[in-house]
Symmetry: C2
Subunit: 206 residues, 2 copies
C-alpha cells in the first residue's frame, strides 16, 4: 500500500495523529496538520467539521492501541510466567514503535478525564475475569499472594513509564545519549519480565 494510494481522509488522519501526538490537543495547530498532510486548512474542516472532531477521530484509535490487552494474553492456557513474558514483550515492542503514545494518552486523559468513560466500552476490558485468573495461580502456589489490580498496575507502570519519562531518564541516567537509551528500552523486554518474575515467585519452602 503506497502512501499515494491513500485517500485524503486517511492522509489527514495520519498527519493529525503525528501532530497531536507531538504537541497534544492544546499545542497542536490546524495549520501544522494541514502542512503535514500537504493540503490546506479548509480541507481539514471539510472532512472533519472541527479540531475537536478531528482529535476524537485519532484519539479513539490511539487510546485503544495504548490500552494493554492484558486480558487476551493472560487468559491463554500457557504457564503464568510465560504469559507475563509474552505480554511484556508485545507491549514494549508496541511502545517502541509508538514512543509518544504513553505521555499523549496520560496527558489528554488527565486534562479531560470524561473521555475515558466514553471510549471504555469499546475496549472490552474485564478486570473480574483477570482477577480470577491471577487468584487461581495464587491459590495453586504458583505466585505469591498479590492484589490482581496491583499486579496489573505494576506491569503497565514498568513497561510504559520509561517511555513517558524518556527525556527525564535519558538526561539523568544516560547522559542524553539517544542510542544508549534506545538499547535500554529494548533490553526492558527481558528485564521487566525478570523483575516481575522474581517479585512473584513464591518463597522456597525449605
Amino acid at each position: 500500500m503506497d502512501e499515494n494510494e491513500k485517500n485524503t481522509e486517511e492522509i489527514i488522519l495520519d498527519a493529525a495523529k503525528k501532530v497531536f501526538l507531538r504537541r497534544g490537543f492544546d499545542g497542536a495547530r490546524m495549520q501544522e496538520i494541514a502542512d503535514e498532510a500537504g493540503i490546506n486548512k479548509a480541507l481539514l474542516h471539510y472532512y472533519f467539521r472541527s479540531k475537536e472532531k478531528l482529535f476524537d477521530a485519532i484519539f479513539i484509535t490511539a487510546f485503544s492501541q495504548f490500552l494493554p490487552h492484558v486480558s487476551e494474553t493472560l487468559l491463554s492456557d500457557k504457564p503464568f510466567f510465560e504469559k507475563i513474558q509474552i505480554f511484556v514483550e508485545h507491549y514494549v515492542q508496541m511502545l517502541l514503535e509508538n514512543p509518544h503514545l504513553p505521555v499523549f494518552i496520560l496527558n489528554e486523559l488527565s486534562r479531560n478525564p470524561e473521555r475515558v468513560v466514553n471510549f471504555f466500552k469499546l475496549a472490552g476490558v474485564s478486570p473480574e475475569v483477570l482477577g480470577k485468573e491471577i487468584q487461581k495461580n495464587v491459590k495453586a502456589g504458583i505466585i505469591r499472594p498479590i492484589d490482581p489490580r496491583s499486579l496489573v498496575v505494576n506491569l503497565i507502570s514498568l513497561c510504559a513509564f520509561p517511555f513517558a519519562g524518556k527525556p527525564l531518564i535519558k538526561a539523568a541516567l544516560f547522559d542524553n545519549n539517544e542510542e544508549l537509551y534506545q538499547q535500554f528500552l529494548i533490553k526492558r523486554k527481558t528485564e521487566v519480565t525478570i523483575f516481575i518474575t522474581n517479585a512473584l515467585k513464591p518463597e522456597k519452602t525449605l
Copy 2:
C-alpha cells in the same frame, strides 16, 4: 503564615502553579491565572514579563520537587531494604500531596526536552555514586544483580505511574471510585516496597 500576608509575587506564583499544573503550558490562560490570584492580567506581565517567563518560574520548583532525591536516601548508612522503604514512603507521600505533578512534568518535558538540560545542574543528581552503592550491595549478596539504572527506573515507575495514569486506572480497575483509588494509592507506600524487596531478594542458597 496567612494567605493575606503573602506579597503579590508569591500570590501570583501560587496561582500560576495551580493553573499550569491543571492545564499545562498550552492549555493555561493568563486570564485564569489572574482570576485565581484575584488580580488582573496586566499585573501578571508587570511581575513576569511574559507567560513563558512566568511558566519558567513555577517549572523550576515543580521540577526539583518531582525529581526524586534518590541519592540522599540511598546513601545513608541504613540497611539497603530499609532505605528502599523510606524512599518509597516519602516519595509516594509527596505525590499524594501533589498528584498532578507527574503528568505535568512528563508532559512539559516531552514537549520541550531542552528544559531538562537547563534545570538539571541545579538538582545535583549523581548516578555514579548511586551505581556504586547498589553494586556494593550486589557484591555483598544482599540483593540480586541488577543494573543500577534499571532499579532506579523501576522504583520511580512503580511510584509515579499510578499518579500519572490515575484517570485511566481508576476507570479501568476501580469503577471510577475516587475514594477506592485514594486508598489504593496510600496502600502503595507498602505494596511497592514489598514488590521491590521480593524482586531483589537473592535466591535462597540451598
